[in-house]
Point group: C3
Chain length 109, copies 3
């Protein structure tokens, strides 16, 4: 038995939890805060058999990996106040930090 502790972005947490539970994995969710940016994020605790750890890591990677996306960032048209055009802007979103820890003993009561 291993304990997977994964820190993910709030926006990705719903998708990754659903992907994990659809595959029969059990997950507990903690609402946490980033020490540096001081904004909310999500920490997942996933107890899983040793031979399934890679499958869990793959699911987290596919849903949460850092990726580029295009958002339309409004920017004022030169000179005319109040008139905005939306400029496509590429930003980086997502990301996951994952620790796998050995479990000495596992019990269900």
């Amino acid at each position: 038995m291993k304990l997977v502790i994964a820190i993910v972005h709030d926006e990705d947490s719903y998708d990754v939890i659903d992907s994990l539970t659809e595959k029969g994995f059990q997950v507990t969710k903690l609402a946490t805060t980033g020490g540096f940016l001081k904004s909310g994020n999500t920490t997942l605790i996933i107890g899983v058999e040793k031979d399934k750890v890679e499958e869990v890591l793959d699911i987290i990677k596919n849903v949460c990996k850092t990726r580029k996306t295009v958002i339309s960032a409004p920017s004022p048209v030169m000179g005319t106040s109040g008139v905005f055009v939306s400029n496509p802007m590429e930003v980086t979103i997502g990301g996951a930090t994952v620790f796998v820890i050995d479990v000495d003993k596992f019990e269900k009561f």
Copy 2:
């Protein structure tokens, strides 16, 4: 030193924390959420000497183990609307999921 991480139901958390602290064990409580049912539950962190782990597991088991209880579930009397009799109904409550992890180093400052 071992770290016991126990996920229990909110209704059992007060009793199990009191039982543990009465026996001199130290406990930290986290408010968490179940990944599947998406409802609140409680995760306990209990740092304990290796030779006391079994005693901690016994306390968790005695307080939190899955058990049957009878609740009176109201159900409408055949045909007469608004008239309810309470039927005894057996339901399963409780349960605990427990991980024991090895601690490399323990400090109190």
Copy 3:
């Protein structure tokens, strides 16, 4: 890779997080509750390379160690109601409980 799990007082949590992030360490913060006093405290998760564990422990110790401080506790002047003088009173504040756990595998996605 090691995981440092530190339970500190809320009042010390801002200083210790800032001290750790200034030194380039990464920290995740959990709002937790003490099992005995049932009051809020803070649990920090810090994933750190093995050779930096001592430096992290030193920072936690310097900021959070149990220490004496003098507070002025108001106490009524003998006999005259409503008149208070402040008496210096020595109290103990702070403290940290720290677990260091071995990490089998560490990934960033």
